[in-house]
């Protein structure tokens, strides 16, 4: 299936936003798949973190709340928290990332997915940012910050 994308350009840097999913203010993406939510970090997040060298994943079965810290991403330069995009139960984590955390840099929307949550409140997904809203969000951040 062809997935279209939005490209945000700020200060010579390009950030890709996929239009088939929704976004958090803390730079995670969430994609609805058969009633479950697959989550990862955005292209903007991976470009901000740069060389990602490690990740701490939550345990499968863990109940999480929207906005809660559920993992940690380590880059050469900094440590970043990973937040739950929605509330629910963690039903799967991408263990491949433990050996190849660089997948978060090379393919953040695909092979670099982080976990799957079975949502407890489907409304929360609807409340996440649309791709267009997220485009505005990172444009503002990238211009202000770096």
């Amino acid at each position: 299936m062809y997935v279209s994308e939005i490209v945000v350009e700020v200060k010579k840097k390009k950030y890709i936003i996929k239009t088939d999913r929704k976004y958090t203010k803390t730079d995670e993406w969430a994609k609805l798949e058969d009633g479950k939510i697959r989550e990862g970090i955005t292209d903007y997040a991976q470009k901000e973190l740069k060389d990602i060298v490690g990740i701490e994943l939550p345990e499968v079965g863990k109940e999480v709340k929207k906005g809660e810290v559920i993992g940690v991403i380590e880059s050469i330069k900094a440590t970043a928290d990973l937040y739950a995009a929605v509330s629910g139960k963690v039903v799967e984590v991408n263990e491949k990332l433990l050996d190849q955390p660089e997948l978060l840099n090379t393919d953040p929307y695909g092979e670099g997915w982080i976990l799957i949550i079975e949502p407890s409140d489907p409304k929360e997904y609807d409340e996440l940012m649309t791709p267009e809203q997220y485009a505005e969000h990172i444009k503002k951040h990238a211009e202000e910050g770096h």
């Binding site: 740069k50 060389d51 060298v53 490690g54 940690v72 050469i76 330069k77 955390p101 770096h146």
Partner: protein, 376 residues
């Protein structure tokens, strides 16, 4: 507002660097990947823009008296055309104001390279000492007139041959040439020195000439390397950095002996330098802390120890990490740390608290990457 490196436009327009702040300057953080850039320096050859470093000139009949007072190393032994250092400038508590390299042009003319965040502080300090001691020394800040690059890596000599500068391959480590021509460009200085543990050179030149030199070096195969890789390289080697391993505040930093600086940075035969009294008292009493290296286990994977993480032995807190990173060369976490002296035993294992878990690490000496040529 951070100052911009003299080569700012070149990095952004030509090399597509990601810029960021370091020591009050906007410098290239990385070009593409800090890990790749790190490995380029270890296996090939890379170029750093280090124009943010403070470069200061002392001139006058009393220069020797000044520098003998300022630094812990004996500068009388240095020959013209040679560098000395790193050496330490101490405060009254024997804490380190800065670690610096000195260059002897003549008895009455020396150059100093200071760390970027301490440049202004050091210049003010130099002027204060000169005034108090009524010395005839002129202090000149060259930082804004001259760009500086470091070209580092095992293949540096090949690159110099390609750019028509092979005569500099004859320089010994810590030897320099002053007011010379490099690859057809007039330069202020070239020295065989660096801060990566690899063979390499540092060049000072006016910005237009430096950009032409930079382009020639790139064409000959050298790659641009950013400040993130510079930091991971120096941590692997166990080189200290101000605000991490040392600083003036006695409540945050141990005295200079705890640094275990090595390289003859402190010359105990020398007398009459600033901070000496406190330093010798600590030497007699013994030190509470020792700076050591920590190497994490490869099986713990991509663990990244960071500044401030606590160190334990059997639940007793015995120290803290001053600088840490994931080592691209060793593929595991490495760190520099202060550990209480009775526990600082090479080969022993400690535990480092990283969020909710403790990870084992072995206490080791520097460099953390064995077998690297610290000097040629």
């Amino acid at each position: 507002m951070a100052r911009k490196t003299l080569l700012y436009d070149f990095h952004v327009e030509k090399l597509g660097a990601t810029m960021g702040e370091f020591g009050g300057w906007e410098v290239p953080m990385l070009y593409k990947s800090a890990i790749e850039e790190h490995m380029i320096v270890r296996t090939d050859v890379g170029i750093f823009d280090v124009s943010h470093m403070g470069r200061i000139r002392f001139r006058g009949p009393d220069v020797m008296e000044l520098i003998q007072y300022l630094y812990t190393k004996d500068m009388k032994k240095v020959k013209e055309g040679w560098m000395s250092g790193p050496t330490l400038a101490l405060n009254q508590w024997a804490r380190v104001k800065d670690d610096e390299m000195l260059y002897k042009i003549s008895d009455e003319e020396w150059l100093v390279v200071a760390n970027a965040p301490y440049r202004e502080k050091m210049i003010n300090y130099f002027k204060k000492v000169i005034e108090e001691k009524k010395l005839k020394v002129e202090v000149e800040d060259l930082t804004f007139n001259l760009a500086m690059i470091a070209i580092q890596g095992p293949k540096v000599e090949e690159v110099f041959e390609k750019v028509g500068a092979k005569e500099f391959n004859d320089l010994h480590t810590l030897e320099f040439r002053y007011n010379t021509v490099f690859a057809g460009e007039k330069i202020f200085l070239i020295s065989r020195s660096g801060w990566t543990g690899e063979d390499g050179f540092e060049i000072w030149a006016e910005p237009p000439a430096m950009i032409r030199i930079y382009e020639k070096l790139l064409e000959a195969g050298a790659k641009p390397v950013g400040t993130i890789a510079r930091d991971t390289l120096r941590i692997e080697m166990g080189f200290v950095l101000g605000e991490h391993e040392y600083g003036e505040d006695p409540t945050r930093f141990p005295n200079a002996i705890s640094l275990r600086y090595g390289l003859g940075a402190i010359d105990w035969h020398k007398h009459g330098f600033a901070g000496e009294e406190a330093l010798r008292a600590y030497r007699r009493e013994g030190v509470k802390w020792i700076r050591v290296g920590l190497r994490f286990r490869k099986k713990d994977g991509r663990v990244v120890p960071r500044t401030g993480y606590k160190i334990y032995i059997d639940d007793v807190e015995v120290g803290w990490i001053t600088s840490g990173t994931y080592s691209p060369y060793l593929k595991r976490g490495v760190a520099q740390a202060y550990i209480e002296a009775p526990y600082a035993v090479f080969g022993e294992t400690v535990e480092v608290q990283i969020r909710n878990k403790r990870y084992e690490a072995k206490i080791v000496d520097f460099p953390l990457v064995p077998g690297r040529p610290v000097v040629k």
